[in-house]
């Protein structure tokens, strides 16, 4: 006579994993009885299918915009990781200095911009200077 051990004695095992809409993660588990559960690996709580994302976001970023008026000096903040920046001269009398490279006069409606690749951040120090008639629009994106 032989005694067979059934699969019901087997431990559950993980099939796949991903991210949720609430910023957490999900794992799908094959249970000992053969059923599949999708759970939060941190709590074990069931994850509703609607919360399962096909992608994992790596963070959030926030856009900022400002208008630089006449006779002003504006430095784009770079205290957090700077992803990108864009400067447009609305009028004449606008110059831009990037990381100490010197003041470059901008043409009207000229746009100068920069964007980091992938997960990189920009170490740029961008200074916009306007004269008595100058005006510029500045947009920058920082990581949260």
């Amino acid at each position: 006579m032989s005694t067979n051990v059934s699969f019901s004695t087997c431990c559950p095992f993980q099939l796949a994993e991903g991210c949720t809409t609430t910023g957490g993660r999900w794992v799908s588990i094959r249970n000992a009885d053969g059923t599949i559960s999708v759970v939060d690996p941190a709590t074990g709580a069931a994850v509703p299918p609607a919360n399962v994302l096909a992608f994992c976001q790596q963070g959030e970023s926030l856009s900022h915009v400002t208008t630089v008026g006449p006779n002003s000096v504006f430095v784009i903040p770079n205290t957090n990781d700077l992803e990108s920046w864009s400067v447009r001269a609305r009028t004449a009398g606008v110059s831009i200095d990037v990381s100490g490279g010197g003041a470059n006069p901008m043409d009207v409606n000229e746009v100068i911009e920069s964007e980091a690749q992938d997960d990189d951040a920009l170490s740029d120090v961008v200074t916009i200077t306007t004269d008595a008639t100058g005006s510029a629009r500045v947009l920058w994106l920082e990581r949260l």
Binding site: V5, F7, C10, C11, F13, L15, A16, I36, G59, H64
Partner: protein, 148 residues
């Protein structure tokens, strides 16, 4: 009488996994008896090998809208992150157009385009509001990561 007890409780094992058309995942399971099954990780049902695809980072969907005067006084168009916004762009086609970016408002210039794009695998936590009045008109393009 001899009783044979199989104490070697070897279980099914997930060998490798990947992605399927439609957003589900496949997993290759080695059974206790040495056979292999290709299953859908989310349901446990058999997966069709023809549905196997290279895993994308995600999908994105683009929305294009033109904001023109809807009522006699003014119209607004709002964008909020919803945890999926990856790109937005506003162009002032006819003045006046007022753009509010995360609480900062300004009057746009004619044909001015203001845009923001998150890096790969990131999203924008932005709240954008476009307002027009009179002859104002704006075109708005946004892109969101899709939950599939």
């Amino acid at each position: 009488m001899l009783t044979n007890g199989n104490l070697n409780v070897s279980c099914d094992e997930a060998i490798t996994n990947g992605c399927l058309v439609g957003g589900d995942h496949w997993v290759l399971v080695e059974r206790d008896n040495g056979t292999f099954d290709l299953l859908i990780a989310e349901t446990g049902l058999p997966a069709d090998p023809a549905d196997i695809i290279e895993c994308p980072d995600g999908q994105e969907a683009t929305t294009v809208a033109t904001l023109a005067l809807v009522n006699p006084w003014s119209s607004q168009y709002g964008l909020v992150s919803l945890g999926t916004l990856s790109y937005w762009e506003v162009r002032a086609e006819a003045l006046p157009v007022t753009l509010n970016v995360n609480g900062v408002s300004f009057a746009m210039d004619l044909n001015e385009t203001v845009a923001s794009k998150a890096q790969d695998n990131r999203i924008l936590d932005d709240s954008i509001n476009v307002s027009i009045s009179g002859a104002g008109r704006a075109s708005i393009v946004s892109r969101r990561r899709a939950n599939t």
